[in-house]
């Protein structure tokens, strides 16, 4: 990844707040990071660090109160098919459409493709996630892992500028999760898509990511931005070493106050 080109996604000084019925809560505070083309960029942190909120902001579902999110130089203001989301929940597929129709609907209703071209594109990506046999099944007949594969196929078929994944494997069992991680990497080898991936698992971050953004909680702030390991070494001693390092960074008690941060 050369940093000579302009970043694909540029997040600068983003403060996010949301309202509950009684409070206004700051989810992230002045977060900066840049995602370049073909990055597998991980947002990693404990719960409450605002990583999911940050991903939703990149998705355009909420606007920063401070700072700016730019995709290819254009500010992000609302949700759009150039940033496809893959959610954690299994109910993200439209239950009234088959696997194929789900992928197709995204392509057609966003106006990206139509007719035969859309059909072919949908089937191509369903094939990529090994679900050709289930193309005409309804989502409720699929297992959790298969549903997530459909959601990934749907996201990838749109060929978005960046694929946003919000803990997509968190609700899966450990064995399926491992398999899905490997499959995701194989898909990446195939098309080199850009993905922004939220997780709270350090091991998952090291396995999947090429670059890892560490965040601290309450409110979410950037703690570090690290390179992950080369793909071949993600299970060896080096991985354990990196895992220890990230663990130490995430769970070391910070003593800095807000004032110091401002300065």
């Amino acid at each position: 990844m050369t940093e000579t080109t302009a970043p694909l996604l540029d997040v600068r000084g983003v403060t996010l707040q949301y309202k509950t019925s009684e409070h206004r809560i700051t989810a992230t505070y002045r977060v900066d990071f840049q995602v370049f083309r073909s990055d597998r960029f991980i947002l990693l942190g404990p719960s409450g660090c605002g990583k999911s909120t940050l991903l939703k902001a990149v998705g355009g579902y909420l606007n920063p109160v401070e700072g700016e999110i730019r995709l290819k130089g254009m500010p992000v203001t609302r949700p759009g098919p150039d940033r496809m989301m893959v959610f954690q929940e299994f109910d993200q597929l439209l239950p009234w459409k088959t696997v194929k129709e789900n992928v197709l609907f995204a392509l057609v209703s966003s106006g990206k493709l139509s007719g035969k071209a859309a059909q072919e594109k949908a089937l191509e990506y369903i094939h990529k996630v090994n679900l050709t046999k289930f193309a005409d099944s309804f989502p409720h007949t699929l297992s959790g892992g298969m549903k997530q594969r459909v959601a990934i196929a749907r996201g990838m078929a749109m060929e978005p500028d960046v694929l946003l994944m919000d803990e997509p494997f968190a609700a899966l069992d450990a064995l399926t999760r491992r398999k899905m991680q490997d499959e995701l990497l194989q898909l990446w080898d195939d098309t080199h898509f850009t993905v922004l991936f939220v997780t709270h698992s350090i091991a998952e971050a090291i396995t999947i990511g090429s670059r890892i953004l560490l965040m601290s909680p309450h409110p979410g702030q950037v703690k570090a931005e690290l390179n992950s390991l080369p793909r071949s070494t993600t299970h060896g001693d080096a991985a354990r070493e990196l895992e220890r390092k990230i663990h130490a960074l995430l769970f070391a008690e910070p003593v800095e106050s807000h004032d110091e941060f401002h300065a």
Binding site: G59, P79, R83, P95, W96, S109
Partner: protein, 304 residues
Amino acid sequence: MRCSSPNPSRVTMNSMPETDAVRPDVLRPTVDASQFGVVQRPLSIGERIYNIGAVRKLAILVLLAVAWEIYARWLHNDLLFPTFSATLRAFAEAMISGGLLGKAWTSIKVLLIGYSAGIALAAVLTTVAISSRVGTDLLETLTSMFNPLPAIALLPLALIWFGLGSGSLVFVLIHSVLWAVALNTHSGFLSVSTTLRMVGRNYGLHGLSYVGRILIPAAFPSILTGLKIGWAFAWRTLIAAELVFGVSSGSGGLGWFIYENKNQLEIANVFAGLFTVIMIGLLVENVIFRTIEQRTVRKWGMQN
């Protein structure tokens, strides 16, 4: 696998068996599927027949008819409670010569007009309600005001406003359908999961296309319930209204048929009129709504 080490906690767990002995690894070959007696076996004919809902329901209907027949024969009082066979005979006669078919059709025509107008108004009201907070308040206020108001209570007013025609009937029908459908549709919209909403917006859908392509299908189980309740309310209101003010513009409906025959003490015909209402109800519920249900919410796995 050694899962315990000498530490103080072990003292308190003395009910646990000692597992310090090293156990060997065990590998067992699996048996080929052809060795099993049954991997997959078709259900017997009896089981399959029992699985058909229509058969089970038909059996219930037959049982009820038999019970009716036996009780009525035992009672032996045609004026109070005619037998099932006498009712069927009266029904057949009224169908062929007594104009029951025409009267039923008159009722159904008015019913369909009122029902569809009610649904259309409910659609407008819920769309307004879902798109703004004031709209929600409006729907909630109107519903809590008018939903408990019996349609029949509005009938005297409707007669003054719209006269003795089908206009009054349609008015009370709309009133009985609108609130039930609007309430259910709105609560259905509200219960659509955040994830599905975000998915819809992710595709760039908004406005009517968002309501039509995401909210309506996602809320369809509730909408269908609303439609069913609305249908039942409409039927009740219509028959009751016809009983109260009888004939409208020369040709009465089913309610009028029942009323007229009661006056002439043709009780078998009264039963035939009620029987018609029941038959139409069964038909709509078990054929029309069931088909819609099977082609939508059941197929999509939103309802079992």
